[in-house]
Symmetry: D2
Subunit: 139 residues, 4 copies
């Protein structure tokens, strides 16, 4: 499981005084970088091999600007050419947002999906999460 | 059903040459404005009465920068204090992305959900979509 | 001179209840599209010929979410391989933000600037603004 | 002088394969947090005391996704109720972007500027930069 802690940015707030909900898919994308490296180790966008099939976000608590957040990233499902990540955003030690993303290995030139090889499947397997995200962050 | 047509913005593209997937929740938020007006007719953020419980996006086709998009907005479910919108993004006449959002009427001072009254329920009812979005935009 | 009127988006607000200042360079980019077409008529990003050398924004009044904005776009200077756009954002009929951008015609493969030809210079010339933006929008 | 190193985010790229120019004002905002703390130590947006009068960005080199950036933040000018920050974004050890921002201490209720007291002026003075940013990052 991967974990990244960072500060929210002021422009990510909205007029309700908290982080706008459209920001969470962006945070979840930016904290999937370690998984992107399985497919494109040097992160060169010209060699990119992934495409997003779907995403969901469930908002349990609001997130404020003036306190760091921790995002945990794990794998929930490993298919043939696709897999599902599950990610949890914690603030003040409590679960605030859960996001799931279905990602497909994809050949951007041939415009078709590509089965994942055993090396990548083994890397994804090391980060499988069984069950649900805990409601409290145990640090 | 509401419909809005606009041009993608250059900064909304990513290094894969198409609109980045994190942009769609933002487009779906911005095209829900007519529904926001049911709850806050003058759109004054200080009187805002809504909160997002969850969102999903399903990506069927990539969306490019250099062609306008049309987003259709309808209501899928009307609950007691919450409702679900369903939205479809079309480009080149074809369905590209579908988004669903669960929205709760919420008292931001008392920090609790608020049942919707009959006037609002009637307004939402006028925009109910039965079934799925068509794969082709019939203009 | 080009003019475009549109609604601010809710996610573009910040916790101060107005449009965040980092949004204006994005709005100014998105309303330069008619000028982008001089260089890339079909707006195909793969044939893009421009690069930004600098940008400035001057903030005179705050901009709110619940009222449309009008952005006017003109050309301030035409150089050899570069030109400067000047743009004004109006809300409630009053000048809110002025932005200037220095843009260079650029060969993205050779990684060097490219002198503009007479056709493009003539197109830019048709949109020259003499003097300053008026403080009130005369509609 | 403040320094912060972080990874660019994939959604911050554009179709030209590099970080879009509208992202830099956002990065410069997010790395001014230590200076925001002089005015609002707990960063509570409801007690915010600042407003932006103007910003400039000068782009010297493109910035790519797959390498961390370092942003240095200093103070260039201290006025009566306003000051100017200067910030430099480095990647691969080279200066890529310089941004200057004029910031005003502002009473958001009374809607007027507010002279800075001696404590804040002393804090700003500790971060004054004399001269220009070096072209190479000396680490």
């Amino acid at each position: 499981m991967y974990s990244e802690t960072f500060e929210p940015r002021f422009y990510e707030t909205d007029a309700l005084g908290h982080i706008n909900n459209t920001v969470f898919p962006a945070w979840f994308e930016s904290t999937r970088t370690p998984i992107f490296r399985f497919f494109t180790p040097d992160l060169d966008a010209k060699k990119w091999k992934l495409i997003i099939a779907s995403l969901t976000c469930e908002f349990k608590r609001e997130v404020l600007y003036n306190e760091s957040v921790t995002i945990k990233t794990a794998v929930k499902r490993i298919g043939n050419s696709s897999f599902t990540t599950t990610q949890a955003c914690y603030q003040y030690g409590k679960l605030a947002t859960v996001g799931e993303t279905v990602i497909v290995q994809f050949d951007h030139h041939a415009k078709q999906s590509l089965p994942m090889n055993d090396v990548i499947r083994a890397q994804l397997s090391e980060h499988l999460l069984e069950g649900d995200w805990p409601l409290e962050l145990d640090e």
